[in-house]
Amino acid sequence: MTDVVRLEAVSKVYGKGQGAVAALREVSVGIPRGSFTAVMGPSGSGKSTFLHCAAGLDVPSSGSVRLGDTELSRLGETQLTELRRHRVGFVFQAFNLVPALNVTENVTLPLRLAGERVDRAWLGEILARVGLEDRAGHRPAELSGGQQQRVALARALVTRPEVVFGDEPTGALDTMTARQVLRLLREVVTAMGQTVVMVTHDPLAASYAETVLFLADGQIVDTMSGPTPEKVAERMTGLGAWK
């Protein structure tokens, strides 16, 4: 399998001199195409920074981040934006949607910003996959939290990105709704061959992934394949997450 995202010796330091804090230290990892990866770690372990650097939302202090053949650390802000527009999708914890726009408009927003034509059939297919074909005209305020996250996922998929990043995508949802969204994410990977990287602190959420990366103090300390909630929780306890 080829790697979609490749991090080589990536470090990120906030601040300068005495007060400098290293959020990532020399992290090297590859995300294979068509995989579902969860990134776990205690608070302050650097998992958000990892996601920002991998997705081109933030620039690392040193090291290289490659998306496919593109070296991200050499790109300017507008180039990064265009890259995110076409090749990366995002689902955030909350506040994913523009309240002024309805479901269809929110989903097609990246295409509109790129000035591209909307492929109606593809849009219909995506909306059907996330189960929102009958909600296309609704505003975010008229949707439940789970529905809003599904709209966000549809938006992340609409540009046929190389990779979808999720930052605690189920963090603001109740257990039942969270499971629906996680199942959907998994389906996207298996049925559509999509690559998904998800940051979470929830062992249950992580158990839907194929691979779990454990971060602590800005370094990858462990990797787990075929995770179950119990195994993940145990490993996290070992990392000192729940004392």
Partner: protein, 779 residues
């Protein structure tokens, strides 16, 4: 992007309400002021008295000077005269001999009580015809117009009515004397005020001006002509000030709304909008808001223009027959100005936008580090330098016409500089709050954490305090200084407006009588206020500092002497109100120029060159009571010194009406910004409530914050006003001390505080109405 901008706009109505209201007010003000300006530029007055004459020949009503512009270029500048210029009879004689001229009608004009007096010779200009009775022939006979309500045989101010005309003029009451009597009463021997030429004239004769069509109205109503000129300068200055205030306010509200929408914009950035697209989106929103507000505001501005014109007419600043010019230009210009203001505001906020990082959408706290960006710091310093230059310029301006707009501009530029550098100050402000317990602690923390939030509120508050103090105290600085000087310099016990000097002088007990006529003269092209007096040290003390007042020479105030670079013994070349040029020796320099006028001239020289030589009498009669004097001069009004001084001060109501609108505008901006800032904090307030802060504590915290802002704005605004007023006073009165009314000042601050507290409390109560848990989760 426009469709998208429209959707955002419709959804975030509240965030745009502030900018919208500010734009609307700016459009209305600019439109109204431009209507006045246009009336000044293009306003016409239809001829009434001269309506029946196809062509009128009269003297040039302007003083013209050729100014050397350097590099061998010259330019002739014209300034209107303050009194009517008369035409030598020799011109009329020449006209009579001109080929093609069949008939010439001469006219003299002079005030007669509330009437305008003429000789019967000029009846044909209108034309007036007799309805009952006959034309006046002897000295004591008059003919009145149809509206006078007088019959043949009745009396009018000691004259017998011998006829009534069939006509009356819309805006003047006319009385006709016999031609010889009118010439005597008019007091310009060998001169006429105008000449009607029939049937037509192609070219003006040497030394005169030809008036045809609506130009005849301008000649007929010289007061309208002067009002027109002052409308141009006032309309222009007001429109400019409103526009600048508008830009400042709109920039503030826009910056605030962008700050509040930071997260939404960050989401767009994360989802794949380039910084340029975000700027375009915000620019589109600004243009949309500007267009809608501009159209509505311009419509409202037309109404406001009519109201202003009506108010000026009722205050006597504009004659009723100078009608408001209504055309689409002011509305279109206001719309253009508003849209540009919105665009400028968006451009200026755009700099802020490029710094919105996409990561902020992921819930990262938007860091407001309170550091001043370099561009802002540099702009702030540049504007401070500009303000210093303006202040220096202002302190050298000694005419009101020049000083008034510069005063407004100086106060504005200082305020903008203070706004730009405001966040620096905002970090120092909250220190004293520490003593106010837990709510004080919260307020201080918030103000320190978000200095830009405080700065956005401070800007309109400072603007309001600075502008209000400047506008109000410019008037008192002028008025009080003038009144003080007039009171100190009037030695006469009584002042009799319009009384006959000879009769009063004969009253037993009267020691000295001084006749005073006020006029305006020009030295070169510059206007100077002047009084023409029969000088007597027993009635008048000008505060002479060098030389001594001589009866056939001029005395000048220190301000004027400095401006003209003249001193005692120098010749003073001047143009009297009616355009007559003369040269006088300067015999004295005095200090009380504001109270008595810049120049003091011999009464005998000037009285023949003013429209109304009636004037005022200063009477020194230490042994007589006021009642005794009033009995001795039947029909005269007798004022004592204090009353007279109060009457002498110019009426500043016109200024108050016009500039009051700008004050109101800044008041609206204050309410606007505070309401926006408070309602934008719903979530934060909810978090505080969930943490156990009571509703009462939150309101107290907000009140403390608002008071803190008011205090800062009061200090900054007062400082700005004091610097500006000081410079103004230096130029106008020669002393840097402005006159402040403590009561008025306290009232201004109290009003600002009341406004700010209300504008904070109302949206806060609204925000506290939602359940805290709901408020926290809603986006």
């Amino acid at each position: 992007m426009t469709g998208f901008a429209w959707k955002m706009l419709r959804h975030r109505k509240a965030a745009f309400a502030g900018a919208f209201v500010a734009l609307l007010c700016a459009a209305a003000l600019v439109c109204a002021c431009l209507m006045l300006l246009e009336t000044g530029l293009r306003g016409t007055v239809a001829p009434e008295r001269y309506a029946g004459a196809p062509a009128i020949v009269a003297a040039d009503q302007y003083v013209r000077e050729t100014v050397d512009k350097g590099k061998g270029k010259t330019k002739t500048k014209a300034k209107p005269l303050s009194e009517r210029a008369w035409l030598p009879i020799s011109v009329v004689t020449a006209l009579r001999g001109t080929p093609g001229v069949q008939r010439v009608i001469t006219e003299v004009t002079f005030p007669f009580g509330g009437f305008t007096g003429h000789g019967w010779e000029s009846a044909g200009l209108t034309p007036f015809t007799i309805a009952t009775g006959r034309a006046p022939r002897a000295a004591g006979e008059v003919v009145v117009d149809a509206r006078a309500g007088l019959h043949v045989g009745t009396e009018l101010r000691g004259h017998r009515v011998v006829g009534v005309t069939a006509q009356a003029l819309p805006s003047q009451d006319t009385v006709f004397f016999s031609t010889a009597e009118a010439r005597r009463l008019a007091g310009h021997p060998g001169m006429v005020s105008a000449t009607g030429v029939f049937p037509a004239l192609s070219r003006a004769p040497q030394g005169a001006v030809l008036y045809t069509g609506d130009e005849r109205g301008r000649l007929e109503f010289l007061d309208a002509e002067q009002a027109r000129v002052s409308l141009i300068s006032m309309g222009g200055a007001l429109a400019g000030t409103s526009l600048l205030v508008g830009v400042l306010v709109v920039v503030g509200t826009f910056a605030l709304s962008i700050q509040q929408r930071r997260r939404e914009l960050a989401l767009l950035r994360a989802v794949a909008a380039t910084p340029k697209q975000i700027r375009k989106l915000v620019g589109g929103e600004a243009l949309l808001a500007g267009s809608v507000a501009g159209v509505l505001g311009a419509a409202a501005g037309i109404g406001l223009g009519f109201w202003l014109h009506g108010t000026f007419v009722s205050l006597g600043a504009v004659p009723a027959n100078l009608r408001l010019v209504v055309s689409p230009f002011p509305a279109l210009a206001a719309l253009l100005a508003t849209v540009s203001a919105a665009w400028v505001a968006a451009r200026m906020s755009a700099r802020r936008l490029s710094r919105v990082r996409p990561v902020e959408a992921l819930g990262e706290a938007a860091l407001d580090d309170g550091r001043l960006p370099l561009v802002r710091l540099l702009a702030g310093l540049a504007l401070t330098a500009g303000a210093v230059v303006l202040t220096v310029v202002l302190s050298n301006l000694s005419t009101e016409a020049a000083a008034t707009p510069v005063t407004m501009l100086t106060a504005l530029v200082w305020t903008i500089a203070a706004t730009l550098l405001g966040p620096l100050a905002a970090r120092v402000v909250p220190l004293p709050l520490r003593v106010a317990g837990v709510t004080g602690f919260l307020a201080a923390r918030h103000l320190r954490a978000a200095p830009k939030g405080l700065a956005s509120v401070l800007s309109p508050l400072t603007l309001m305090v600075a502008m209000t103090c400047t506008i109000l105290f410019v008037q008192t600085t002028m008025g009080d200084a003038a009144q003080e000087q007039a009171e100190a310099g009037t030695r006469a016990g009584y002042v009799l407006p319009g009384a006959p000097a000879a009769a009063v002088a004969k009253v037993p007990g009267v020691e000295a009588v001084t006749q005073v006529v006020r006029t305006t003269v020009r030295v070169g092209l510059d206007k100077y206020t002047a009084q023409a007096v029969t000088y007597d040290p027993r009635t008048l003390d000008l505060g002479v500092v060098s030389g001594a007042v001589e009866l056939d020479a001029a005395a000048v105030s220190q301000t004027a002497a400095t401006r003209l670079g003249l001193t005692v013994g120098d010749p003073l070349r001047l143009t009297l109100g009616d355009g007559t040029r003369t040269t006088l020796k300067i015999s004295a320099v005095y200090t009380r120029g504001l109270g008595f006028g810049d120049l003091t001239l011999p009464h005998a020289l000037v009285s023949g060159h003013v429209d109304d030589p009636t004037g005022t009498l200063l009477v020194s009669a230490p042994t007589l009571t006021r009642d005794a004097l009033a009995r001795a001069v039947p029909g005269a009004t007798v004022l004592d010194r204090a009353q007279a001084a109060a009457v002498a001060v110019a009426n500043p109501q016109v200024t108050y009406v016009a500039l009051g609108l700008i004050i109101a505008f800044t008041g609206i901006a204050v309410v606007n910004t505070l309401a926006m800032a408070t309602s934008g904090r719903t979530k934060e307030l909810a978090v505080l409530r969930l943490a156990g802060t009571t509703r009462r504590q939150i309101l107290r915290m907000l009140r403390l914050e608002a008071l803190c802002a008011i205090l800062t704005a009061a200090v900054a605004g007062t400082a700005i006003a004091l610097v500006t007023l000081s410079a103004f006073a230096t130029g106008m009165t020669g002393s840097p001390a402005p006159y402040l009314h403590l009561g008025t000042y306290v009232l201004v601050l109290a009003a600002a505080a009341a406004l700010a507290l209300t504008a904070t409390a109302l949206p806060a109560r609204l925000a506290l109405r939602t359940r805290p848990a709901d408020a926290v989760t809603s986006a």
